[in-house]
Every structure is written in structure tokens, then in C-alpha cells.
Symmetry: D3
Subunit: 286 residues, 6 copies
């Protein structure tokens, strides 16, 4: 697994997303709190899991508080990213002005619910293939603006990242094949023209495609919409000449069959495009 | 319904989010296409529904193409936001350089799948209460950075927007009540201190809370985790003195019961925090 | 009054404005100080009122110093936002490198002079209606880019905020009425289509308009260019059925007459569009 | 005069300010118009002067519309920047969707009212010294974030710009003198250390200071809080050896006396820190 | 070669850099042109090579003009990126307002001189190894903020890109080896933990390191500071099991020896960190 | 010299450039380090000169670390900006997490190598004219986006800055002369129209041009492509009436001749457009 110790390196991209999140919820300020809560009231906010989940998002929330600037609450985490916690488990405790806690509560929860949701959903797939040699990998089907966070969450969940962006991997699909004049020509051109730091992956629709990709020297072959049986045959045919990735409509009920069929990698778009939010709540003690 | 003609006014906030989306997927450019696709090749990309769905996102995609700048593909929409289309229905057709179409394909689809997913999920709730007087409303449980788009999508789906941000509505919850010294004191202070353009809404946990809120002159009362029967009693008790909103764990199987119980508004966090992505795909003809 | 404890929640919008302010005055740096002031010289800067004024801007200046980053002077405030101080009163004391103090002096003063100017001008109107039930409210006639700061300053001055933005209140004017087909149709459509968290306000030109608005169930009626006498009649006609707001050409000499006529709210565009800068100066002791 | 043909070069700084202006007023969109105005309704908006004024802001508004992007109204100007127009004069005519016109109306007017207000206020000072050799110059007492626009407006009004930023001129004040060890040392150091493209200006409090500055070879001497008589003596003493600038508490009633006293430049902070907004309004014909 | 048809995909990162470039040179506008050039004067600016060079930068300049916005000059290119042109050759012709041409001239030239300088310098290395199988590759020694442009310029010059960023390739150096516990452990961990889309490259100092890397199954081995003779031995030892990259102090006088020694890739930091600016000038015909 | 104590005032412009630098190298994070380096490993990074150089960049690197935010390494400088150090000299020592040091290493070095390269190159020119009265000045031929840093580096190297931007100096060239109708007309118009804080500089091609400029009262005359002999004649002709600047193709072998010819200023574009990177390296002790 690629998740031994996932790292979230803070970048200006992340800061910009966090700024959007703060701006859109704060508007010109929390009018309810300003009207009702004394300026100097302080409080404690406890963040808790309301379901079994894989926690993901502590460094993101830490960065959010840093962006908020002077006056941000102080946070103390009770669990670390990647930990599986039960319903009711405490996740974090924040101390600060009550007005500020109320102003940040929803944004903080929305962040944690998304990233923990993705990590939890991912972990289910990872657990489902436990004991096999298969790795669960994510896709580029992430929320626009959220690529970095969504892919961090899949790592925290135990998956490996597929390419981060269009410049982080060669993935030759049907349109490229048509433009390049077939599998052999495409792989040859990719070897000649693409950065040497990137492996060459070819997506194929059938066994003939697989053969062509293997003959052309592809490093990775993506089997699109193969059944587990077809994957098994493909793995045998490849005989270790290429990494084999299975993709297309694989869900929790079928993923193990693909793993047992011998796929090295199993790509799951649903890790990020359809992960339900994790149920996380906050209680404030005035 | 608030959805007669939803408007997406472009704002710098939206532009920033679209820029993040472009930046994170483009990186330093699509190395696969640069290696394999002739610079001058042109093509057509057809965007299609792969399931029954409520289309949402045309003005967002239009803006994305505008941000991309000179050289962006030309788009022609085959359906309008809010339209329900069947699986297989054409949604849009883009014409441009093949390299550019490939560079934008994933970002465009990720956008449309999210916003159409929210609109479609919302429409299911709206349809479920058809014929009643209840309005489905969204919440602030939106994706960080996506507030404006998520709330546009719920409008397109037929829901009404709850407050957009912390400055767009007074919603008095338990922490405010504790800080203000009870319902009567809180409503009074809100009337005195909050902008007059905003209604005063109070969240209550039981009938006693409802009575206090009505007596204090709240404009809206949010019934938190009431059963349909309890809602019915609450509506009767209110007798038109306040708008009644039901909230808390309501799903597609129970929403109609709440509507028939007479709630004016039914708030559903799942519209945005757990909407599955709509299945939308693109085919490129080189 | 809405000003018991005004809050300035820092947002990325504010940070961007402060960055513009820093950038435009610093350029590539203060060439005079670089040429003449030793790099390590330290000094104290005392900020003082040069007229009687309502101080406004401490949290803004604090944020400005935070944006400046490491090396910013340390500030100690001698008065708090909302305090009325006399000419000659000390407002703040900054300690730091002399070059840095000189680099920030003008931006800091320009900020304080504007926000204190607005607060001071506002306070004059608030004082003029003291003892009546009328609330002074601001408008959207703020300096472009300064909405959040201008409206914070009016709160500090003792006024209440009218809607912050176009999404923070329903205000139906003549063009809306024409488009919607009259007052009754417009109010009905607003009730159906607009967020329930917002009150419905209608601007009227005469008594007939007022009657129509009241009959349609408007929550607030804005009397445009009514005389105090007309306002008095309108208030009587309304009989508590709606909040009554007076607006249009009201100045310090006439505002009390409108308050005594019974208007609940009196809107004054001049609070922000024509407030003279407060006279504030800085002395540096090398 | 420096205003023969003032130029407003668009810069990213300006675009950022315009984006702030759009964002803060649009929020998530104009809920009133969305509720009441048909999506396809088109209209014409006429912008008119409500007082005699010097128009300033056409290129700023043009840029604002460009930032708004596709769907922005089309504008046709009826007067040009710098023109003096009478109350009632048409300034511009915009054609577009009614919803969009309503969304932009307030921001557009707020911009024009500020910049035309500064230009108009400036013109009054310029007119007051007509026939003399004195030039009216602005100061750095501009609205934070607005430096470029405020100084464009003073140029349009007929004034000349003092330095734009801290890197655009050498202005030696008391703190610099103290740090540098007196006038002679300061001017010498400035000549040695400062960019040669900048003139060296020294602020003096009295005749002795003037003498020291002249002896040291200052290019410009700023007379701080001199009376017209003192200015006259100073001009005679300088005898053309330096440019003479008068500054400090000069208003419309006294400015001509300073001009007639022979000051080359008269600096007026009030051009920008206390200019009343020009009265400009818009009428929309649905 | 990777340069058959290099693509510069516009991204927000590029736009931000161009905005910085515009902002820093325009300041508050070109005061010389505003003082001396009539507002309506139009002119033609011809951009010409003053030395033999490889043109690079046309799409960057096009984007710069787009960022400038309405009023930007119209440009017509006389040569395309990648073309080698002689001293005196016309490169482009711009038509527009003279003031605008003067405002953009320096920024436009500075851009072209840098990117064409890098492309020209790169081409010299590429030409030096012509006829061999070696590819010239760049490094991450690019100008901060300029990664995308510098790497585009090396592609235009005929080189191939090494990894774009830290997430675009696995490159194991001494610190990684120490942390991971040696070559074998590091390569194994990289295979297990790193994205499958990336090849695994190991930097080695000597033949023992090479053997360890080959045994561990590295995809690419970087020979650090090997002589051509040592490279020759290393290539023989590798026998095609890995791609061989030579790096370290290689210049134009020695690069061919490394190519003839059989290195697949030759990394040259000087392509970007020490490329002299190409001599390009502009003539304006008023 | 203008470099007694150069100051780098941090500005939002600088922060934006640093953010671009961080973003472009970090991408979604350092995949090599994440795969191989334990999360909690700490280390020390020593930055060293590999050649004799003038150090420049300490405050820039300090700011870079500040932008990186919480978790940035702690830095301790061993030399100050402006110091000449020998090959092998320690420059700085950073302590922090090993992953973070690896993530920042390249960006930090790229910054220092550029700015120290410019300072070192500049110092060579400054040293070459030592003992004469000539000042070396830079030009606007800086790297786009880098104006502020490049000009800081030339100051650190001992040069003086020419104008920072188009608004920081009047420099009348052939196109201005043509538009204005000759030297006399141009200088007159500049005196009338340009900010008084700026000197008026005219570029001339020959002695006739010089005479015209002197007669018109130019403050500075730029002699374009004069030989040292011609400069000598020009200086004599000027007789102190104007500052004399030599420019055009001057290099290290000829600069002293121009200085000895009596030029007050010698402008060298190569300070910034062709400075080789200084050789600076980092060693990390795990």
C-alpha cells in the first residue's frame, strides 16, 4: 500500500481553496452570533464521530485555522489521520472565543466530513481486497478544486494514487490511439516524446488490444470493462511483462473478484466521485 | 418553488474555483496528448447523459471555457439547466483542437457530474412532496469552496435556498440561546441587533421550545428531529404565526410524511453532502 | 441599536484589500527611508486623534500588520473601536524598526481616517435621533471593495446594517414591480421564490403604493422621498403591519423629524458615500 | 497642467479591486431579481448626472464590464472623462439583460460617484488658481486600495500627481532629517543613495529650513503650514533654485492666495480624502 | 526528441506570472508616454532578432496581450516557436495605440528574450549530440515562478523534460537512500509506495551504486559526475536493463563525449539556470 | 553607491511570486520523500557557496519559509546579504522535518542562485569602476515577475537602481521625441505634464542630440551607444548642466573606460538579463 505515512504538503493551491471556503460561509460575518453572543465569551468545541469512520483532515483543519489568522481557536486532536474510530469517538477539541467557534464550525465540519468520507469509503475497498496483491487506486474523477485533498484522502484510506494531473502520467486512450495510428505507433511515439520519468500506460478494450500493448512494450495496461474472468486471462497472457490495471464499473461487491483474478491495480472512480459524507458533529460548551 | 428561473451570476469567487480546477488537472500540460496528438488536429466532443438526470451546469461550463481563454473549444448545448433528460441524451457538443478537448474533458465532466448530481438528487425530493405545500430547502452542508455552485444546483433541482452564508439569515441555535439567556431574550436581542432584512429563525427541540419561540415572535421555527406526528402537532400549535421548518435525518422514504404533516419547509442536508455524481460521459470523434 | 458589540470577522476579502493597500503604497520599497535611515534604527510611532472622533479600525490595522508579516511593528491600542475620543487623544502606539514604521504610516492612517470618519459621521446621525425608536441604517452606497469595512464602521458608529449584498435581502423597487406586474404580484412571487430567511421589503413612492404593499403582506416598506409629515401618516396607516423605513435625501438637519414621525428605520447613504475623513495623525520618535 | 490626456492603463491591481467590488455586492447573486424578473427580459439603463460634475470613470466602468465577462451589458458613453456636464446630462447608456443591469447598477454607480466626485472636487481647486502659474497636486492620502483610481481622478480633474508610491519620489521629512543628521547630510545622502530618476524634495517648517534645503541643493522644497505671506517670502528667497510646494490645511477659500504667492505646487490632501461623492443616478427602462 | 510539437497549455499559474510582469512594469502607468504621446496616436511595433536564435514565446506573448485586455495591440507573428532565425529576421508585428505599445514593449521583450534564450541555448546542446541516440533533458533548476515557461522553452529547443515537479517522478538521492536503508530497500519501498504511473530513478555515485540499482530493479539510473569513460562502462554494465542518465557539470564542450559514451539521457542544469538572454529588439514606427 | 543598506520590503507582489515558486515545484507533494522518508525524521540542511560570490537573498528565503507556514524549517544565517564569501563558505543552516527540507531544497536554492548570481555579477562591474565617480545602474531588462527581486539584487551588488517601473522616472526616447515634435518640445511637455517628483531624462544618439537636450533643460542625458571618447566629449560639453548616463553594449572589459570618461551613470542591462546563476548547494544530514 502507498499509505504508510501519507503527507499533505501545504501549497498555495490548498490555501486558495481554504480561503474560498472561509469567504463563502463568513460573508460579512455571522450576524446571529454578533447579535446574541457576548464578544468576550469563550467556549470549547468538541468534534466527534457519529459513525465508524476513518479520520482524515487534521492537517487541513490545522491549515484552515492558520489561514483564519490571529484569533483562531486552538485545536487539540484526539485521533490522527488514518485512524479508524467508532461512533461517539472524540476527534478534536477546540478552545477559543465562542463567536469564532460558531463562525468556523460549519466550514470545519464540511471539510472533515468530505475528506473522512472519502477515506472511509476508500478503506472499505482496501479492506475488501485484503490478503491479495491488488492495490486500490483512485482516478481523476475528483471534485474540481479538490484534487489535492481528494487524493490525500484516498491515500489516507489506504489506496494508491493514480496520476495527479495530466502531466503526471502517460495514459493512452482510444482518441490517442486513433490520432497516433494504433497501439504500436502510439507506444513508440510516447517513448520518444514523453518524459522518461513517466511510465507508459495503454487502455485496451479486449485481448487483441492487450496483445498489441504488450508487444509494443507498454509498462502498464489498463483493462477497460473486463470481467474478472477476462482479467484472469489477461494477467496470464501478460505474464509479468506489464502491470495490469482493471477499471470500469467495479464496486464493493465485485472488487475482490478482480483482485483475486490477479489485477495489480484496481481503479475505482467512486472513491472520490460518490463517497458519502462521513457523519461528524460538533458540540459547543459555552 | 424557488426554481422558476435560477440564475448563476458569475463572480470572482466562481472564477477562482474554476481556475483551481483548471490548474490542478492541467499541471504543466497534458503530456500524453502532446506526445501523440498532432498539434493541428481538430475534433468534436459529444457530452452525453448515461443515466436519467436533471442537467445542471451549462453556465458553469461556459464560464470555464471563458477562463481557459483564446483557443477554448466552441460549445453548443443540446439541453438547458433544469431539464430532465434520459440516459443516452445528448447534452452538449464541443468543437476545437483535439489536444484542447482532451485537456478539458475531465474537468468539464467532473463539474457537470457534481452539479447535475446535486440537481438530480434534489429533484427526487422535490418530486416526492409534489402536491403538498412543502418546499424542500438546502443547508450550509455544502462542499467547501462550492457553496455558490451547490446552492445553484439545488435551485435548478427545484429546491429553495436556505441562507447562503452566516450573514444571510438569523438562525438561533442552542449555543445562542444559552449565551443570550433563553428564547425570549434571544429573539428580542435579535430583533434589536440584527439586520432588519433578515427573518428570525429559532431552532427548537420540543413543543416547549416551539411555544417559547412563538411567544417571542420568531418568524420561523426549525423543528429539530421531530417525527411527522410531532410536526403535525407543531403546525397546529403554530397556527400560522410562524413559518415551520422540519429538519433532521429526513430521507426520500420519509420526506412526504413530513410534507403531509404540514411543514412549510423541509431541510435536507443530503442534497449537497451526499449526492451521488450523475453519470455523464464524453465521446470524442477525432 | 445593532452596535452593542460589533464584530469584524477577518475574511480573505479583507486580506485582499489590505494587500492592495500595502502593494500600492510600498511599490518596490520606500526609497527615501532606504537612502537615509539606518537599517537597524528603531522607533516609536504614536497615533493620535486631531479632532473629536469615534475610533474605528483597530482590528483592521491589526490585520494589516499581520499581513505585513514578520518584522511588523508591535501595536498597543489606547482606545477601543466605538470609543469617542477628544482631539489630542492617543489612539495607539507602535514599536518597531523606523524604516518599517515609515513604510506603513500612510497606509495605516488612511485606513483609520476612512473608517473612523464613517463611524464618526454615523454617530452624529445616531445621536440626532437619540430618545426616539428610530434606527439609523446604512445602504449599499459604499466604496467599491470596501463594503465590509464601510458597514463595519457604520455598526461601530451605532447604526444598523441594511443588507450586505444583493443576496442578503429582498428589496423590491420600481423595475422589479414593472417586471413582476405590480405590487401584489411582486410580493407574492417573492414569497414563493425568494429564500425564506429574508424579509420582503418594497419601495413605494406614495400612499397608494404603501397601501398596496401592506395589502400584499410586505414585511418592510421603504418610503422613498416622503416628507416627515407623509411618514407620520404612513406610520399611522401601517399600524404596525410592517416595518417602516424612510429614505431619500435625509441629512443631519432633518433626520430627527423623520425619527419623530415614527419611522422604524432611517436610511442614510451619506454615512458611507460622503463621510469626511477623520483627522488622525502619527508622530514618530526616532 | 498634467491632465492634457490622462491615461488609465489597466493593471492587475485594478482588476483585483474591481473583482472585490463585484464579489462583495453580488454575493451569491441578486435574489430579488431572480425571484421577480424573467430570465430573458432585456432593458436599457441610462446613467445621468444629478449635479454639475466632471465625469471620471469611463475606462474603469468599461473594465468592470470586461471583468464581468460574457453576458455583460453593452455600454455607450455620452460624455468623456474630463468633460464638465450639467445636472441632468446623460453620461452613458447600457443595454443588456435586465437581471444583469440590476446586478451591476450599484457597483457601477458607486465607482462613478467616487471617481467623478474626486475629479469634480479637484477641478474646483484647479479653477480657483486659474491664471496663476501654480499647479494643484494630490497626495498619498488616498483610499487604501484605490491609489491608482484616486490619482487618475485627480489627473482627470486637472491636477498633477505627486509621487504614486514610496518608490516614486524622494520626500525627506523630519524623521528622515533626524535619522540622517540634518538637512545637508540628508540631501547629500539622498543624492548618493537614491535613484537618479527621482528629484529630491525636502519638507521644511520655517525659513531656516528652507535656507538649509536650498543650500544643500534640494530640487523641491515643501513648505509645511506656511501662510501665503510666508510662501511669498520663501519663493523670493528661493529665487528659482528649487521648485516650491505649499502644503498644509489649504482649502478652496485660501488656495488662490497661495497660488498668487508664487508657489509652484500646492498640495491638497482633501482632493482624495474628503471629496464628496458626485450625484449620479441610473434609470432603467424595462 | 520530445519536441515534435511542444504545447503550451495556458493555466492560471501562467496568468498569474504574466499579471505580475504587467503589474511590476506598469505601476500606475507610463508617465513618459502620458506626458508626451497623444492619446489617439497609433503605431506599428516590429519585433526583430538581433542574433541567430531559436524563437520561443509566441503563445506566451499572445496570452500576455489577452491578459492586458481590451485595447491590447493586435499581433501578427512572422516566425513560429522552434524556428531558427538569423540576426535581423522579423519575428512579429504589433499594431495598436502608441501609448499601449510603449507600455508593453519592455515586458514583451523581456519575456521573449528569456524564453528564446533558453530555447537557443538548449538547441546548441541538442545539435551537439546530433546523430547519437542521446536525449538532452532539463532539470528543476529553473527560475522560481518560471518552471512551466522554462520547461516549455527547453522543449522548443529540442530537449526533453525531466520531471516537472516533485510529484512528477521518483528520483531517489542520497538522503532518500540513507532514510530508506540502502538502494535495495529504497527501490522496493518506492515500488510499493509510489504512484505506479512514475518510473523509479536512482542517483548513484559509482559502479557499486549502479550495480545495486540495477539489481534492485530501478527503471532509470542517474550517474552523478561520471566521466564519459565511466559512463561507457556503466552503459555496458546496464546492458539495457535500465535507462541511463548522465548528469553533473556537463557543458557544450563535453556533451558529445557523454552522448557517444552511450548515455540515453544527458541532464543539463545550465539550459535554464545559465542561459544568456537572446538579443531581440523592437522598433516602433509612430 | 546606493547600497549602504539595501532594504527588501515584503510586498504582496513578492508573496505571489513565492507562492508560484512553491506551487510549481511541490505540485501535490514530493512523492519520493513520501514513499521513502519516515514522517517524523528530522534533519539539518546546510547551504554552502560553491564559488566565490556575493550573497543575496536571505530576506527572500525567510519570507519563503513564512509563506510555507507552520512546519517550515527554522533557518539560521551564517552570512548576510552583501557579504562576499569564498567557495565552501557556509551560508545558512536549516533544521526541520526531513520531508520538508527535501520539499523546499530546490526552490530555496533556485532563489538564492539567481539573486546571488545577479549580485555577484553586479559587484564585478562595481569593482571595475572603483575609484571613479561613476555609478553602475541597472535597467528594466529584468525577468518578468522578478523586477523587485532583480533590482534588490543589483542594490546588494552595489549598483544603483534606475527607475523601478514606467511610473518611476521620465525617460524620453526616440518614439517620444517623434510624437512630441523634437527634444525641446518634449522636455517642455514633460516639465508641464509629468509628476514633479521625477527627473527628466532624454536619450540621445549623438552630440547634436546632447546639445538639444541640454538646451531644453533635461536633468539627465542618456548617451546611447557612445564610445568612451564620445562620452568624454559629451561630459565636457555638458559641463555639469545635466547628469550623464552611458548605455549600450558596455561589458566588463570596457566599463572602466566609460567610467574614466566621466560618465556619472553607466547602465548595464546584463546585470539582470544575463547574470549566470551563482553556484550554491545544500547538504542534508539526515
Amino acid at each position: 500500500m502507498q499509505n504508510a505515512a501519507p503527507e499533505l504538503v501545504p501549497t498555495p493551491h490548498l490555501d486558495t481553496l481554504l480561503d474560498l471556503a472561509l469567504a463563502e460561509d463568513l460573508g460579512c460575518g455571522d450576524v446571529t452570533a454578533a447579535a446574541l453572543v457576548p464578544r468576550d465569551a469563550v467556549a470549547v468545541m468538541r468534534v466527534e464521530a457519529r459513525q465508524r469512520l476513518v479520520l482524515c483532515g487534521a492537517p487541513i483543519v490545522d491549515r484552515l485555522l492558520w489561514r483564519f489568522g490571529p484569533g483562531a481557536p486552538v485545536i487539540k486532536w484526539r485521533a490522527a489521520d488514518g485512524a479508524t474510530v467508532e461512533a461517539g469517538a472524540p476527534l478534536a477539541r477546540l478552545t477559543g472565543r465562542l463567536r469564532t467557534l460558531l463562525a468556523l464550525e460549519r466550514t470545519l465540519l464540511n471539510l472533515l466530513q468530505r475528506t473522512s468520507g472519502v477515506a472511509t469509503h476508500t478503506r472499505a475497498f482496501v479492506d475488501a481486497v485484503e490478503g491479495t496483491a491488488a492495490r486500490i487506486v483512485d482516478t481523476r474523477k475528483t471534485l474540481p478544486g479538490w484534487r489535492m485533498l481528494d487524493k490525500y484522502a484516498t491515500r489516507v484510506g489506504g489506496a494508491a494514487n493514480h496520476r495527479m494531473a495530466l502531466d503526471g502520467g502517460i495514459l493512452i486512450k482510444d482518441n490517442h490511439l486513433a490520432a497516433a495510428g494504433g497501439v504500436a505507433a502510439a507506444v513508440t511515439a510516447a517513448k520518444r516524446n514523453a518524459p522518461h520519468s513517466l511510465r507508459i500506460e495503454v487502455e485496451v478494450e479486449d485481448m487483441a488490444g492487450l496483445d498489441a500493448a504488450l508487444d509494443a512494450g507498454a509498462d502498464v495496461v489498463l483493462l477497460d470493462n473486463f470481467t474478472p474472468d477476462q482479467v484472469k486471462h489477461a494477467v496470464a497472457r501478460a505474464g509479468g511483462r506489464a502491470i495490469i490495471e482493471a477499471s470500469g464499473g467495479i464496486d464493493l461487491s465485485t472488487v475482490r473478484a478482480f483482485a483475486e483474478a490477479g489485477a495489480d491495480l484496481i481503479a475505482i472512480g467512486a472513491l472520490t466521485h460518490s463517497a458519502p459524507a462521513a457523519d461528524i458533529a460538533a458540540e459547543i460548551d459555552g
